[in-house]
C-alpha cells in the first residue's frame, strides 16, 4: 500500500515520532488500520504506527503516556477470534494486527451535588443503578488495558463498599473500553470516579495539622515573615537559602 522511504527519515517507532534510529536498520511489518494495509516499523506502538502511516490524529491521542485514556483501541490478530483491547500509546504493533481506534464512548455522567450524597450504597443506587445489572461475566476486567479488577469493583459498588471501589479503580484512565464491552451497559469508570470522590470527601481520615495550618494562614501568622523575606536583597536571600537546614 505504501512505498517505504529509503532510510533518510527519523524513526517513527516511539510514540513521539522523533526517534534517532535510521530506518535502514528497521524491520517492517504489515498491519491493517481500519482495514487498510500499511507497512510500519515492527517495534512501533500503535500510535507511532498510525502517525507513521501519515494520519493526523485529532481524536485518539492525548497525554501519549498512558494517563488520559484518549487512545482506546480495539484489534484482532490473525487466526485469533478474540477482540483485544489496548491504549494506542502503550501497545506495540504485531504482524497482521487489524485495528481501529475508538474516538469516543458515549456515556451519561450523573449530575450530583457531592455535599448531598452519602458514602454508601444509596449514592450508587441513585446515580448509577445500572451497576445492579452486572451479570459477573468479567468481560470488563478482561478488556481493561490497565489490568484493573473492574468486575470486582462493580461488585463492591453493589455492596456499597466505597473504599474498595476507590482502591480498585484508583488507576482507571477512563478509556471507556470496559463500558463498551459490558453486556449489562454499566458505565464502570464513572462509578469509579463517584466512589473516589465520596471516599475523599467523607471516608478519609482528617489531617489534624492541615486544619491548623489553614487557620494560621488565614489569621496572618506568616505575614511578618513574608514581609521580611520579600524585602531581602538577592545576596541576603541567597545566603539564607544555602545555609538552610534540610529534613
Amino acid at each position: 500500500m505504501k512505498s517505504m522511504p529509503a532510510g533518510t527519515t527519523k524513526s517513527p517507532s516511539s510514540s513521539q515520532g522523533d526517534g534517532k534510529q535510521s530506518l535502514a536498520e528497521q524491520k517492517l511489518i504489515t498491519i491493517y488500520i481500519m482495514g487498510k494495509a500499511y507497512e510500519v516499523p515492527a517495534e512501533a506502538t500503535i500510535m507511532g504506527a498510525i502517525e507513521y502511516a501519515g494520519h493526523q490524529i485529532i481524536r485518539g491521542a492525548g497525554c501519549r503516556e498512558g494517563y488520559c485514556g484518549a487512545c482506546a483501541t480495539i484489534y484482532r490478530l490473525p487466526g485469533d477470534y478474540k477482540i483485544l483491547t489496548g491504549l494506542a500509546c502503550m501497545t506495540l504493533v504485531e504482524e497482521g494486527m487489524s485495528l481501529a481506534q475508538v474516538p469516543y464512548v458515549p456515556a451519561e455522567k450523573a449530575i450530583y451535588d457531592i455535599e448531598k450524597l452519602k458514602p454508601n450504597v444509596s449514592a450508587i443506587e441513585q446515580m448509577y443503578p445500572t451497576v445492579f445489572r452486572c451479570v459477573a461475566c468479567n468481560t470488563c476486567t478482561k478488556s481493561c488495558p490497565q489490568g484493573l479488577q473492574v468486575m470486582d469493583y462493580v461488585q463492591a459498588a453493589k455492596r456499597g463498599d466505597i473504599a474498595m471501589v476507590m482502591d480498585l479503580s484508583f488507576d482507571c484512565v477512563v478509556c471507556g473500553l470496559c463500558m463498551l464491552r459490558c453486556p449489562a451497559e454499566i458505565t464502570q469508570p464513572l462509578v469509579g470516579i463517584l466512589a473516589k470522590r465520596l471516599y475523599g470527601r467523607y471516608l478519609r481520615k482528617d489531617s489534624p495539622e492541615l486544619a491548623v495550618r489553614v487557620k494560621a494562614v488565614e489569621d496572618g501568622a506568616y505575614d511578618d515573615e513574608y514581609a521580611k523575606l520579600m524585602s531581602m536583597s538577592r545576596d541576603a536571600l541567597s545566603k539564607l537559602y544555602y545555609a538552610r537546614d534540610s529534613e
Binding site: 516511539s14 510514540s15 492525548g62 503516556e65 470522590r197 475523599g200 481520615k205 495550618r213 513574608y226
Partner: protein
C-alpha cells in the same frame, strides 16, 4: 529487557548497590550537593539553554529586541490563521461572562471559583478533550507546606532559591501561602490524598525541597486531581459550557484596548466561531510539543504554546521566555517510551542516578536544571553514559533501592504507573534500574501576570504553565500542580469580579493587522501560521506528498515540522 551489551554495566550497578544503600540509610546526603559556584558552572557548561543557538532576538511585539528561546522567537514571528476583514464581529456566535481557553487544571478551577464566588457563567474552550493537559500527567505530587516541621515561608525560600532568586516575590508568596488551603479545597471536592495511619498527609522530598512537602495520590496525582475537578465542572452544565475540540486561535479586543473574547476554531467542522466575553482567561499550558532543540518531551499532544502567541499578538508582555525546563529523568530506553517522564518521586523515595560504572556523580535531589545539566555533563564530558541501540544515551536511575529502603512491594504500591510503563518491555523497576536522560518538560517563563492573574491587557487573565514570573528560570517539582490550583482559583476570583462591572465597547481584530504590519516592517519572512494546534509526526516523505497541495494548508491543522521549507533555527 535490556540488550546484552548493557549487562556488564548493570552488574556494576548491582555491585555498588549495598554500599550506596548504606549511604542512603544515613541522614547525610548520599553525594555532596553543589554550592552556588558549582551550580553556575554546570548550568553554563551543559544546560541546553546556554548553547549558542538556543536563543535569538525576537524582532516584533512587546518583547522586541529581547533574546528568547529560538523556537519561541520562531513561534512569535508568524502569521495569524485569520484576516481581520473576513471575520464578522457584529453578531458573536456565543456570549458569556468568562471565556476560559484551555480545559486543564487551571481552567477547571477558575470556572468553579467564578461560579461559586461570583455566580459567573463560563465557557471552557479546549483544543482536545477536557483534561487533555499536562495537569493530567503529573505523577509525583504537589508541594504544599502542611506538615508540622514545615511552613509556607520555608516553601517560599525553597522555591525562590530553586528559581535562582529571579521569581516574582508576590507570586511566590501567593503560591506558598495559598498551598494549604488548596489541599483542603481539593480534599473537600473528593481528591484521595496519600495519608499516614493517623490521617496526616504523607509527605515526600522532591528536588530542591528542604522539608518533605510533596503530597501525592500514588503516582496518579495529576489524574486524580484533574478527574475530580472535571467531574465537578460537569456537575454544573447550566453554568459552565464545555466546548471540546474548539481551540481559540485569536483573542478579540474592544475599541478601548480591553480583551473581549476570542475566535474559536472547530477542529472537526473547520469553522471559526466568535465568542464575546466580559473577561478572558488563557489557561493553555506550555509548549513541549515544539520539541525545543530537538528534545523529546514529557508533554501532552496539544502543548504547542497557543496562548503565548495569541496573547503576544494582542500586546501582552512575556517574561523569562529564554528559559526551558528539561526534566532530569526522561526515559532513554526502551525506544517506544523515549522521552516519557520518570517521576522525580523516584529520587524522592531514594532512587539514585548512576553512571555506567555504577557510581554516583550528582546529589539526587538538586533543583531540576542543575540535575539535568549534571546528567548531560556526565554523558557529554565524562563519558559516563550508556548508549542505546537507537543512538540515544542515558544514565541509570537505580530504582531497586526503593524497596530496599522502604520494604518489599513499596514500588508496586506507590509507583503503579511507572511499574506498568516498564514491565510491558520486560523491565521490572523493582529489580532493575531505569535508563534515563533529560526530556523537555516545562515552560518556565510565559505571559507576565501579577498575583491577581492580571496581564498588561485589561480583561485578559492568565493562569498555570502559560504564565511567567512565578518560577523564575527554574521550577521545582510539585510547584506546577500547586500553581494551576492556586492561580486557577485566583483567576476565577479576579476575572469573575472584573466581569461583574465591565461594559465592553466595539469588538475589534485590528491588533492582527498591526502585528502583520510589524512583521513586514521588521523584514520577517516566514511561512509559519500559528497557533500550531497540533504537531505532525508523519515521516518526511509522507509530509512531502501531503504538501503537494501547497499553501501550507494541511490536514488536521497541523503545522509544526510539516512545512516544505523548514526555516527553524533550532537543533
Amino acid at each position: 529487557m535490556y540488550p546484552e551489551y548493557m549487562a556488564e554495566s548493570l552488574r556494576k550497578v548491582a555491585q555498588t548497590r549495598p554500599k550506596r544503600l548504606e549511604l542512603a540509610r544515613k541522614p547525610d546526603p548520599v553525594y555532596p550537593p553543589m554550592n552556588a559556584e558549582e551550580r553556575r558552572a554546570v548550568l553554563e557548561g551543559f544546560h541546553p539553554d546556554f548553547e549558542s543557538s538556543a536563543r535569538r532576538v525576537v524582532r516584533v511585539g512587546p518583547n522586541r529586541g529581547e533574546s528568547l528561546t529560538t523556537e519561541v522567537s520562531d513561534l512569535l514571528e508568524s502569521h495569524s490563521w485569520l484576516r481581520s476583514e473576513q471575520v464578522d464581529l457584529k453578531s458573536p456566535d456565543f456570549e458569556t461572562d468568562l471565556l476560559i481557553i484551555g480545559g486543564g487544571g487551571a481552567g477547571c478551577n477558575a470556572a468553579l471559583v467564578a461560579m461559586k464566588e461570583h455566580g459567573m457563567r463560563s465557557i471552557i474552550a479546549t483544543k482536545l478533550r477536557m483534561g487533555d493537559a499536562n495537569s493530567m500527567m503529573s505523577q509525583g505530587g504537589m508541594q504544599a507546606a502542611v506538615s508540622r516541621t514545615d511552613s509556607p515561608t520555608r516553601h517560599y525560600l525553597d522555591a525562590i532559591g530553586g528559581g535562582h532568586f529571579e521569581n516574582k516575590p508576590e507570586l511566590v508568596r501567593a503560591l506558598t501561602e495559598d498551598g494549604p488551603g488548596v489541599v483542603k479545597w481539593l480534599e473537600d471536592l473528593g481528591v484521595v490524598w496519600d495519608k499516614e495511619q493517623d490521617g496526616s498527609m504523607k509527605t515526600m522530598h522532591g528536588g530542591g525541597t528542604s522539608r518533605k512537602r510533596m503530597l501525592s495520590c500514588r503516582d496518579y496525582t495529576g489524574a486524580m486531581i484533574m478527574r475530580t475537578l472535571m467531574d465537578e465542572v460537569r456537575n454544573h452544565p447550566d453554568m459552565i459550557d464545555i466546548k471540546e475540540f474548539m481551540p481559540a486561535v485569536e483573542l478579540i479586543m474592544d475599541d478601548k484596548g480591553r480583551c473581549a473574547g476570542a475566535i474559536l476554531y472547530d477542529m472537526e467542522s473547520e469553522e471559526f466561531f466568535t465568542v464575546k466575553a466580559k473577561s478572558t482567561l488563557i489557561a493553555t499550558g506550555g509548549y513541549g510539543r515544539l520539541h525545543i532543540r530537538g528534545f523529546d518531551t514529557t508533554n501532552h499532544y496539544g502543548a504547542t504554546g497557543d496562548g503565548l502567541v495569541m496573547a503576544y499578538r494582542a500586546g501582552a508582555k512575556l517574561m523569562y521566555m529564554d528559559s526551558v525546563q528539561y526534566h532530569p529523568t526522561g526515559v532513554s530506553f526502551p525506544e517506544q517510551i523515549a522521552g516519557f517522564l520518570v517521576t522525580e518521586a523516584i529520587r524522592g523515595a531514594g532512587g539514585q542516578p548512576l553512571n555506567k560504572e555504577g557510581e554516583l556523580f550528582v546529589y539526587p535531589r538538586e533543583p531540576r536544571d542543575i540535575e539535568a545539566a549534571a546528567i548531560i555533563r556526565e554523558c557529554a564530558q565524562n563519558g559516563g553514559g550508556i548508549p542505546t541501540p537507537s543512538g540515544r544515551v542515558g544514565v541509570w536511575l537505580d530504582s531497586p533501592l526503593i524497596d530496599m529502603l522502604h520494604g518489599g512491594g513499596y514500588t508496586d504500591k506507590h509507583f503503579p504507573a511507572m511499574y506498568r510503563q516498564f514491565i510491558r518491555y520486560g523491565i521490572d523497576i523493582a529489580k532493575l534500574p531505569m535508563l534515563i536522560y533529560p526530556s523537555l518538560h516545562y515552560q518556565n517563563g510565559g505571559i507576565e501576570i501579577n498575583e491577581r492573574c492580571e496581564t498588561d491587557i485589561p480583561g485578559l487573565y492568565v493562569a498555570g504553565e502559560a504564565t511567567g514570573g512565578l518560577h523564575g528560570r527554574n521550577r521545582l517539582m510539585g510547584n506546577s500542580v500547586l500553581d494551576y490550583n492556586v492561580f486557577g482559583r485566583r483567576a476565577g476570583r479576579y476575572a469573575g469580579e472584573y466581569a461583574k462591572t465591565v461594559k465592553l465597547g466595539k469588538l475589534s481584530l485590528a491588533h492582527l493587522d498591526s502585528y502583520e504590519k510589524e512583521l513586514a516592517d521588521a523584514g520577517v519572512q516566514t511561512d509559519l501560521v500559528t497557533p500550531i494546534l497540533l504537531p505532525s509526526y508523519a515521516p518526511k516523505d509522507v509530509k512531502k506528498r501531503q504538501l503537494v497541495r501547497g499553501g501550507n494548508a494541511l490536514p488536521g491543522a497541523s503545522v509544526l515540522n510539516n512545512r516544505l521549507f523548514d526555516e527553524s533555527h533550532g537543533a
